[in-house]
């Protein structure tokens, strides 16, 4: 049940289940992108199924989502299976299905995830947060293009915002921005997974030229446990993304997400299709 007090992300992540691992959900108009849902909210939905599974061991460690086809507006079914449970890690396969043209179910999304029971060990943070102005010193921007999901995030660019002039003059793929859910919402694993996909396609920035582009596969590694997420609360995250190679229709995109205190919460990688 959703009420007017339910955050739009929580509403989008509502899954019904009567059998362990079998879920039904519905795409959310609040997170609609151009031809389907924002990929980040799809990733969050897949992770939500793992979080709600009665046999889950530990917390998310990694999540890989493959966008096989755009989800159509409407209901979907989701299957999440713990295929192997070890002493400290658990391996998941997950998929989303929708009825195809002939009514038979078609896979729109495949995913794998690992959850883990983590213990305190020697630790080291080897990727310091870049020295950037604080969130309050960075201006929030209105949605850079008219899609609904952009209104679900507060974004305060630091560097590498969407080009103002699409004049082919680009020379870098690096973006940095402060971000959080709008309205603010205490951070959890699903919200973090979604935000790992918030960056617009690097090819737009690198070329200062907008071409059709879409994520094919994304992987998120979670470095934070739930205690650190709770500590982060409704604070801003600094997101940073850059590409390493653009070649023959596909480029990669790597990202880091720190909290305001400079703790690295997640790192992420994706391979993205682009045209022309």
């Amino acid at each position: 049940m959703t009420t007017s007090h339910t955050h739009s992300l929580d509403a989008a992540l509502v899954l019904a289940s009567t059998t362990a691992g079998q879920y039904t959900g519905h795409t959310s108009p609040a997170y609609w992108n151009m031809v389907g849902p924002f990929g980040g909210v799809t990733a969050a939905t897949l992770l939500q199924a793992v979080m709600q599974h009665p046999e889950r061991l530990g917390e998310p460690l990694s999540l890989t989502v493959n966008y096989a086809g755009a989800l159509a507006e409407g209901p979907f079914t989701l299957q999440a299976t713990p295929v192997r449970t070890n002493r400290s890690t658990q391996h998941w396969t997950i998929s989303i299905l929708q009825p195809g043209a002939d009514g038979a179910p078609v896979v729109t999304t495949t995913a794998t995830a690992v959850t883990a029971a983590r213990r305190e060990t020697w630790s080291a943070a080897d990727t310091p947060m870049p020295a950037v102005p604080k969130p309050a010193q960075c201006q929030p921007i209105p949605p850079a293009f008219p899609v609904e999901w952009l209104r679900r995030y507060e974004m305060r660019p630091v560097a590498g915002a969407l080009p103002k002039d699409w004049d082919g003059s680009g020379d870098t793929s690096l973006s940095q921005l402060w971000m959080r859910d709008a309205p603010a919402r205490p951070l959890d694993f699903c919200a973090l997974a979604a935000m790992a996909d918030i960056f617009f396609p690097r090819v737009w920035l690198r070329r200062a030229h907008r071409v059709p582009a879409g994520t094919v596969s994304i992987t998120v590694y979670f470095h934070a446990g739930s205690a650190l997420l709770a500590e982060t609360g409704t604070g801003y995250l600094l997101g940073q993304a850059h590409a390493q190679e653009f070649r023959n229709g596909f480029f990669d995109q790597s990202a880091q997400l720190w909290n305001e205190a400079g703790r690295l919460l997640a790192t992420s990688h994706q391979i993205v299709y682009y045209k022309e």
Copy 2:
């Protein structure tokens, strides 16, 4: 059938199949690690199943492998399914199974892959190969520890070799090395997938302290097509790896692989378990 003229990698990747997508194989003593096969050869085996599938579209674009449990010495079965085929991309789910303690099949490895029909487009290489001495100027090293698979690779470290003194004095996680199959073998996608996992655990270097460690999940993005691999031939690859975060039992490891001409062939990421 393998003969004395068959390269050990080709021998390790032999898969028999009578039904499309269903394979049987056997672990290779030549690529044995401490408690199971070298993870890279397992990744290569999963990709080999996709390469040999009669319905395959295009060439490898991404591969994610989740090491759910160590493969035992002996035969295994492998399933590779093209769950969705689009105009230019095809999505695969793959798994390896072996009989468990009670004889029933147990999943040892899950994977997803994307293959793609690539077209020539605007392209840009944004990760220049570091300026390093040429392979001939770097000394090949003997296996750094006594496991069989290390003898299957020629490794010529440039920087960040395995510490000589395990004295806890480490301060970096960056390694660079020239590498190729030993004996030399023309590069293909499977060999490239294997080499993306060649780097020893970053935690050993960062701490100059050896602790139990093992890859949980690896993702490889292929930027090269088969023409560029053919061009690379039996030449050396420069591999570079570093970690971003070590926290509570897991760290990430990012890698790049260039050919001698400085073309970026693949990028890779993994999340690795470590103890203590």
